[in-house]
């Protein structure tokens, strides 16, 4: 701890390289917005950020109850790769928020409470048995800031002629102002936001600005009791930055693919948590010519996308597990017709309706094998919120260039989590070149294959002399006409599989991070990257010999997979399911033995549990 001059006043400042804050309150308290604004300010300041919203499943759970608590965790600083297992600072706007979130607290951390809401009724609703939640939850060792947030909010806007409801709505700005003070952050970015957001309603705008300032000032006035934190910015590459969550990133990756391929983007989709935002974002992108078809169900969603793709567009459908199940038969049609198609599947807890708002990785086998017949599709997975952009782009590139359906797996954790993102330069992403035909008009054979990718030519309606018929029936390998011939079917099944395997020649090799001579290789895929990486990095710092191989390309696997796995004595496959990828690796590379670490609690791994697990395995 060192003394530092903050805003003209002396105070104690703790220097840290990363820190986590969790905002929590009733779902009506605006905690998601508060967290988002805080993360934006931190990112603008130059911190890496990673965020994790934790919403209640019910839209309107009873006020003040645990079921209605909405949380938003922001992890910021240097080298941040996860939203943080535990939080250093908790903002609890009511007793239920405290009760629900103490388990996420780091020992000795800071808790900011709105003491005004800690009355008998509030405590009862939250399920506290006594009127002393601090004792009941054993919070004595924590740094408690008991702020009368409601009272001070009312106080600061009493000059304005506002109804009680609007006044209470701005309480979150008090908490935000206070947290800004705690972290030495300027409030200017949020002030600007309030001015644009409430520009049409001067009274509300004024109230929010006053309350934000009041929160900041309150912090300043109580500073004698509370240390504040200094988190330094990271060294960032030059460029324009913004914050992006996984869903918007995926939608934008598709937009770039549309631009790079020169093909209009068509999305056929049906709303489903946690994928809906992709549909909504693209529906708003009429400015870029996107056509969005909100279909009557997921089947029509994928079918319209296939129709669009057949007629020459970049056809995409977005969904989550139950919706992917419905799309099964149509994806098989795209496999058979050998048309490009991108399916973005944002995984959630299953089976059936499962845990709609929680994260899981349990659709892997569905994506790989959930279709009738031998029906290979490319399966890939994004591994951070912002690389949903990259993998959506590459999913489209592969689909279009190889004439094959691609399923891109993301998950609820990536979809809702945000990170800062650098707007790519023109040359950061390659061109997309679709296989236009060189065959002559009048002699077109739709299933003639190109040598390098074994793909067929893409001919779209309107091209005179290239009229042809395709469909879901098996076709002759040469003429493309319907064929029921057994050996021909065998040949075609093999060709479609070989076409899939060719994709491996066009994707990057798998890389290992961490100790090159490791005793233990951690294997993961998709959205668990941040946590696995943080755990491996921390263990390396402690001198442990452990490395990480994280897969983004799953079907086909990268060409160097076997060579790489073979270098390590012990392999542990970590997934938020019961071992689906481990099973797939056993099928593809049975020569190795695989340990597993699995969890299906609807939550990401924690770095702590991973470290413990890895140490145990290394010592076994």
């Amino acid at each position: 701890m060192k003394d530092q001059n903050v805003m003209g006043k002396s105070s104690k400042v703790i220097e840290v390289d990363k820190i986590a804050v969790r905002f929590s309150g009733d779902s009506g308290d605006g905690m998601q917005l508060t967290g988002t604004l805080f993360s934006q300010t931190s990112a603008v300041y130059g911190n890496d950020i990673s965020t994790f919203p934790d919403f209640p499943a019910d839209i309107r759970a009873p006020q003040g109850t645990i079921g209605g608590v909405s949380g938003f965790q922001v992890h910021f600083g240097q080298g941040v790769s996860t939203p943080g297992d535990l939080t250093d600072v908790l903002v609890a706007m009511n007793p239920a928020a405290l009760k629900a979130n103490v388990r996420f607290m780091k020992p000795g951390g800071t808790i900011i409470l709105d003491v005004d809401s800690f009355d008998t009724k509030g405590l009862e609703k939250a399920g506290y048995k006594t009127d002393d939640p601090i004792a009941e939850d054993q919070l004595d060792g924590y740094n408690l800031i008991k702020a009368p947030i409601t009272t001070l909010t009312k106080e600061s806007v009493k000059e304005l002629d506002l109804d009680n409801k609007s006044v209470l709505r701005s309480k979150n700005m008090f908490a935000l102002g206070l947290v800004y003070w705690l972290f030495n952050r300027p409030i200017a970015h949020t002030q600007a936001y309030i001015k644009t957001k409430f520009g049409k309603n001067p009274a509300i705008m004024q109230a929010n600005l006053l309350v934000l300032q009041a929160g900041f000032d309150y912090g300043n006035n109580i500073q004698a009791m509370t240390p504040s934190y200094h988190v330094s910015p990271s060294e960032n590459r030059k460029g324009i930055y913004r914050n992006l969550n996984g869903n918007i990133a995926a939608a934008w990756g598709l937009l770039l693919a549309s631009e790079k391929s020169g093909l209009p983007l068509f999305l056929g989709s049906y709303p489903i948590t946690p994928a809906t935002e992709i549909l909504q974002e693209l529906a708003a992108r009429k400015d870029l010519g996107v056509k969005v078809f909100q279909a009557e169900d997921e089947i029509a969603g994928v079918c319209t996308a296939i129709g669009a793709s057949y007629s020459g567009a970049l056809g995409v459908t977005s969904t989550s597990g139950p919706g992917l199940a419905l799309k099964t038969e149509a994806i098989g049609l795209a496999v058979m017709a050998e048309l490009p198609l991108v399916v973005v599947n944002v995984q959630r807890g299953g089976p059936s309706t499962g845990l709609p708002t929680k994260t899981e990785q349990s659709d892997l086998l569905q994506a790989l094998f959930g279709r009738n017949g031998e029906s290979p599709v490319v399966v890939m997975a994004a591994s951070t919120p912002v690389n949903c952009f990259d993998y959506a782009f590459y999913a489209a590139k592969i689909a279009l260039e190889h004439m094959i359906p691609v399923i891109l797996l993301t998950d609820g954790f990536l979809a809702n989590g945000t990170q800062q993102w650098r707007v790519p330069d023109e040359g950061d992403f390659p061109a997309i070149e679709v296989p236009r035909t060189r065959q002559k008009p009048g002699e077109f054979q739709p299933y003639l294959r190109n040598e390098d990718k074994l793909n067929r030519d893409w001919v779209v309606p309107g091209m005179k002399g290239y009229e042809h018929r395709i469909g879901g029936l098996e076709k002759d390998a040469v003429s493309g006409n319907i064929s029921h011939d057994g050996p021909n079917h065998h040949l075609m099944v093999s060709l479609r599989q070989q076409k899939l395997e060719r994709v491996a020649h066009f994707v990057p090799a798998l890389e290992v991070v961490g100790d090159a001579s490791a005793d233990l290789l951690v294997v993961g895929w998709g959205g668990t990257f941040g946590h696995l990486f943080a755990a491996v990095e921390a263990l390396n710092k402690e001198g442990r010999k452990v490395a990480l191989a994280h897969f983004n390309y799953i079907n086909p696997l990268p060409l160097n997979t076997a060579e790489l796995l073979g270098r390590y004595k012990k392999i542990v496959v970590c997934e938020l399911n019961m071992g689906q990828f481990a099973g797939f690796l056993r099928m593809k590379h049975p020569q190795f033995s695989y340990e597993q670490f699995n969890k299906v609690e609807g939550q990401p791994f924690t770095v702590q549990e991973l470290k413990e697990q890895f140490v145990k395995l290394m010592e076994a």
Binding site: Y241, E259, C303, A313, P461, G462, G471
Partner: protein, 338 residues
């Protein structure tokens, strides 16, 4: 005809042998669609035929146009995708009573509701032909089939009623063997902008032979059907001596010359009336109480989905500063690291 015709019906035939059973009504429908396309002078490369699954859906392979034989029941969704992505194309959707109204019922009603500019030709043989003879959603109550050996205990859909219930803008009915009527109706369907549903009463010689015979047979057809023509009085019968009148809120068959009924007392067909009440009555007339209505029963202009999609995009693009992906990505809440 004196003007030069670039395409004749032969230009719409593919090289494949037609494999429907001899005597199947599908042959005639294929020929008349090709004839209608030639008379409309459609360009084969601009026509896309999308079909589902069923005997009828094999249609696609027999056309020389672009064609996509898809999956059971989903053809109208795939066709919608084609048309919305490429409004310049002429999209025909071939479907059966099972394909459109059983497995594809949901897509059918929503396509009709949206009024996507498609020509839907619904082959109604009141049976599942391809799977060899199970009852379908249009089979009559009590119908005995392989899957209803004791007769069905369910009520059939009437495609016209369903189309109008889904707020359809165009509905027509024809009979496979009425070649001229087929050509006329297909042409009308193509000229109509929006979802045109044409129900073709089709005979399956193998599994449901003569199911429509009571009304389609040459001998009785004129007395048991009525050809509706826009702006013309509703007269029918071999001797053109019967007509339709409205009595209260119900239709009534009258004999011209009896009880002083004259031609001017008869209803005049107005296919373009926005209110669908009369169209519903006409579309649901059944023999023997009534003659079965043929021809274009309803043809009402309305908002067309694919056209409105284009218009909305144009409007937004005119007013938006975002012209490229980079414009989008560098706007709003961004900051620069120098």
């Amino acid at each position: 005809m004196s003007e030069v015709q670039e395409y004749t019906f032969v230009d719409f035939k593919s090289a494949l042998n037609v494999r429907w059973c001899p005597g199947c009504g599908d042959h005639a429908i294929l020929n008349t669609v090709q004839k209608a396309m030639a008379e409309l002078q459609l360009k084969p490369e601009e026509v896309v035929v999308v079909s589902g699954i069923g005997c009828s859906s094999r249609f696609t392979y027999y056309m020389s146009t672009f064609g996509f034989h898809t999956i059971h029941g989903r053809g109208s969704a795939i066709a919608s995708g084609v048309k919305v992505a490429r409004p310049d194309l002429k999209v025909w959707h071939i479907t059966g009573d099972g394909d459109a109204l059983a497995i594809g019922g949901n897509h059918f009603i929503h396509t009709v509701r949206r009024n996507v500019d498609l020509n839907i030709i619904l082959f109604n043989n009141q049976i599942y032909g391809l799977t060899k003879g199970q009852y379908s959603p249009t089979s009559k109550h009590g119908f005995v089939s392989k899957s209803s050996p004791f007769g069905t205990v369910e009520q059939p859909f009437r495609p016209g009623e369903l189309t109008l219930g889904a707020r359809g803008h165009f509905f027509a009915r024809t009979i496979d063997r009425e070649l001229k009527l087929c050509v006329d109706v297909f042409k009308a369907a193509d000229r109509f902008e929006g979802t045109s549903v044409v129900e073709v009463l089709q005979n399956c010689v193998i599994f449901n032979d003569k199911t429509h015979q009571a009304i389609t047979d040459k001998e009785f057809k004129d007395d048991r059907t009525i050809l509706l023509e826009h702006g013309k009085p509703m007269i029918f019968g071999k001797n053109r001596d019967k007509g339709l009148m409205l009595e209260g809120l119900t239709l009534k068959v009258v004999q011209l010359g009896v009880n002083g009924v004259e031609e001017k007392d008869l209803l005049v067909h107005d296919a373009e009336c926005t209110d669908s009440t009369m169209h519903l009555k006409l579309a649901t007339m059944e023999y023997p109480e009534f003659p079965v209505a043929l021809g274009v029963i309803r043809s009402v202009k309305g908002a067309v989905y694919n056209r409105d999609v284009e218009a909305q995009i144009q409007e937004v693009q005119q007013n938006s500063p975002v012209k490229s992906f980079r414009d989008l990505a560098t706007r709003g809440n961004v900051w620069e690291v120098k």
